[in-house]
Amino acid sequence: MNLPVKVVIQVESDRMKKAVAGVAAGVVGLAISAVGTAAPHAASAAEPVTFTVGIQNEVDSFNPFLGIEAESYEMWALMYDPLIKYSPEDMSPQPGLASDWKTSSDGLTWTFTIRDDVKWSDGKPLTSEDVAYTLNRILDGGPESATWGSYLKSINTITAPNPTTVVMKLSEPNAVLPLLPMPILPKHIWSDISEEEVKSYANEDNVVGSGPFRLVDGTAGGSIYRFEANKDYWDGAPNIDQVVFSLYKAEDPMVQALQIGDIDFAEGVSPLQLDAIEGTEGIKTVLGTSPGFDEIAFNTGSIDLDSGDLIGDPNPAVMDPEFRYALGFAIDRETIADKIYQGAGEPADTIIPPAYSTYHWSPPDDIAFSYDPERAGELLDAAGYTMGDDGSRTMPDGSPIGTLRLLARTDSQYDASLKTMTYFKEWLADIGIDSEVTAMESGKLTNVILDGEFDAFQWGWYVEPDPDSMLSYMTCGQLGSWSDSWYCNDEYDQLYNQQHSELDEATRAETVKRMQEILFRDSPYLVTIDNKYGEAYRCDRFEGFVPQPGSDGVLLFQYGVNSYLNIYPTTECGQSSDDAQSAGAATATTDDGISTATIIGVGVAVLAVVGGAGAVIAYRKSTADKRA
């Protein structure tokens, strides 16, 4: 009785095949129509000029009162304006929203003149009311003061007597002014947000700002941030229509995206990768100076803040400035810059980087550091740390120095922290000093520093245009807080207070330089290098970047938005802006993206359906007898 069964199977599988074919046709049809609808989008006439930047860290908040990441600062700079901007050449104060400013002779009154031609993105005019409101909100304390409060030190009142004037009254002169980098926010929007609400106000929808760009789409912690240009910007409309930031969690894929053309600019590229893409057609690489340094910091005397007793057992040798200064000659900064940072660092010796030329101090040749182990030995001998019989140096009183505890961070870029300390250990051994290296995560290191359980560690700082904050970290007042070397010197503190209120720039610069000299001599830090930052961009798409600070500075993530305001689309590298315009520069969008994506997506979908259908057919065929 097989025949009827076979017939049944035949019929069933025919019906099956027809059903499957129908479904498949339907899907393909749908896909084709999708391509159809997508295609016109790709081929539409006036494509917006979009500048795409690859970044490696998320924005943590679009609310200027809350965020702390560098990426967030960059976003606020695009959306808002500060009172004062910074010159690309030397970081000196430039007019921003404030077109002019002056101070009284006693320094206790500051008057700012606010531009009268600025409008918010909702059309309302920007006046001194907005400025006073923003600054007062910070001055009042509360969550708003967390990030920006330190810039308003010594200020008692801030008033806006007329729409173009802001007056500040101080209790004592403050040399840090007019450094006011905080974004100015619209009073008519933010006065509706209470102090409690501001703690979690995201500021991501319908943001009202005065800046050169407006936020179109993006959320804190997201992976794509989209901005469109403000064509009515008071400082001139940008030459581009859109800026898009795209997040990559690793450098390699980001650099690859640049090469393929998915992004136009790659931020934070390591020197090795820069070398690898160096000669690529259409790509230009930059290793720009970024004002910051890395150092080997010592425990100059960790004490209990209440009792004054020593805590953490620092090695007595390390607490001696003569000892530390001598070690400055046992560090080969050239090797560090070359081998550890692979060129992303310049040998350095002070805590104010050369980028801040007004305040930077360079040690004279007779005391400047160089890699000279012999000289280090001589200095150590002179200080009483003579070589013992066993090849190790001893304390002046003859007792052994012991093993220095060197701490490194496991989470540093290029693994520089650990490598620096590994090399340091070798160099110390070369001059007869024993040490051991321990690696730990940054959070843990912070705790260890506060407990004083170390002799030396490796870390770094980013230095603001005004040296005040960096200098403050070395004052006695910061012990137990931001001071990580436990350095406390009365002369230094006195000079700090002086420069803080010194309004004459030349005098102030002298004082700051003198402070650096003291630090150099006492060597609580042995500065190793000044940081450099790698960037790469498609010069066959955009040119016109403005480096800061100085001509070998970084191109983006600066103190300001100079590059965004000045770049223009090009068709070839090195093209001037006029040539680019006349050549009718192509759009910078990668419209390949859409069609390839659609094709592959459709292809995969069709394959999946056909494959699935085939499998189902095969299965049913072979189990046909079961269902008979």
Binding site: A146, S150, N447
Partner: protein, 350 residues
């Protein structure tokens, strides 16, 4: 990927203890399982609080470095984060918030933890869920084919393939696939994007084109994870099927003269599917942990990556919320697996 399991462990994991099998009826069994799950969940809630406070590092200092100078500002930040309360009080606040469904604000983003987690949840679900399902389908099929053709070339090739994939770190496979197909090696052009979830030129995130674009970005990660997961399923399916095929009732069926194919299909497969299905359900519970390493390699903004980033601060609210979700998902999956197993396996039902 969960720690490797052998057939033996798979069996051990899902067979309820003997004392639980006895009892007056399935309802009591179900009840005890649900209660057990709730208890596990409660334990997790309490444990999570203390677990993260053990991580070294002060969130305030981490969030403040290179930025704040005055003690007043640091105090302000501490108050904002709610860290100025003594620990027992923080714990009580935490418990109260958890039970009212309020998970607090992330230290880093200052946004509700719930929102952040949901934002990051769907890429992970999409990525790992799709991979698990595909891997289950393909893996089970491969395992079946292997077992039926034991000893033949098909079996050897398939088993060798599975074993090799099983021994491979999945993120390394991802790196290789990235290098070959996304970057392009030699004659192979760049076929896929090198990372992220979206192309930057998709203007409308809700369009069909945007959906296809996301699919294109997820293609390589999904392929990687599918290959990584299917190895385990195929091996286990093969083992348990071989196990079943050695059972007495198979021999009996054969003796009765039933056709081999029929025997295999009807009896052995269905019973061998049992531990495998349970394993799939269990693994689905781990889906939410996200493939942390794959998300790193392919820059997929998912839950796994959120967790690793949160540990750098440490962002207690996010960590607590994330771990709670992970554990809850696994507990829930375990519950389902246990109930399903007892329902499907007539030997267990009383």
């Amino acid at each position: 990927m969960s720690a490797p399991t052998s057939t033996l462990v798979a069996d051990a994991e899902i067979q309820p203890s003997r004392s639980e099998r006895r009892g007056s009826g399935t309802w009591r069994y179900v009840g005890s399982k649900v209660l057990g799950s709730l208890g596990a969940l409660l334990f997790v809630v309490v444990f999570n609080f203390f677990l993260f406070r053990v991580i070294p590092g002060d969130p305030v200092r981490t969030l403040a470095r290179n930025r704040l100078v005055s003690d007043k500002q640091v105090e302000e930040l501490t108050r904002t984060l709610g860290l100025e309360q003594p620990l027992p009080q923080q714990f009580l606040t935490y418990l109260k918030n958890t039970f009212t469904g309020e998970f607090g604000l992330s230290f880093r983003y200052r946004q509700p933890v719930g929102d952040i987690i949901i934002d990051r949840l769907w890429p992970t679900l999409l990525l790992v869920g799709t991979s698990t399902i595909l891997a289950a389908l393909i893996g089970v099929y491969l395992g079946m084919v292997s077992a039926w053709n034991r000893g033949k070339v098909v079996d050897n090739v398939s088993t060798g393939f599975s074993l090799t994939l099983y021994s491979m770190p999945e993120w390394w496979l991802g790196l290789v696939l990235l290098a070959v197909f996304a970057v392009g090696a030699g004659p192979i052009p760049s076929l896929f994007p090198t990372g992220g979830l979206h192309s930057t030129d998709i203007q409308d995130p809700n369009s069909f084109a945007a959906g296809l674009d996301t699919a294109w970005h997820l293609a390589l990660p999904v392929i990687t994870l599918t290959l990584a997961y299917l190895a385990e399923y195929s091996l286990i399916m093969r083992s348990s099927l071989l196990d079943e095929m050695g059972e007495d009732y198979i021999t009996t069926a054969r003796a009765k003269g039933l056709r081999d194919v029929y025997v295999r299909r009807r009896h052995a497969t269905r019973n061998a599917l049992l531990p495998t299905t349970t394993l799939v359900v269990l693994n689905l519970g781990f889906v939410v942990s996200g493939a942390i390493t794959i998300e790193t390699v392919f820059s997929i903004p998912g839950l796994g990556l959120l967790t690793t980033e949160a540990m750098d601060v440490p962002d207690y609210p996010v960590l607590q919320g994330a771990f709670l979700i992970f554990s809850a998902a696994v507990i829930f999956a375990n519950l389902i697996a246990n109930l399903a197993y007892s329902w499907l396996d007539p030997r267990v039902r009383t």
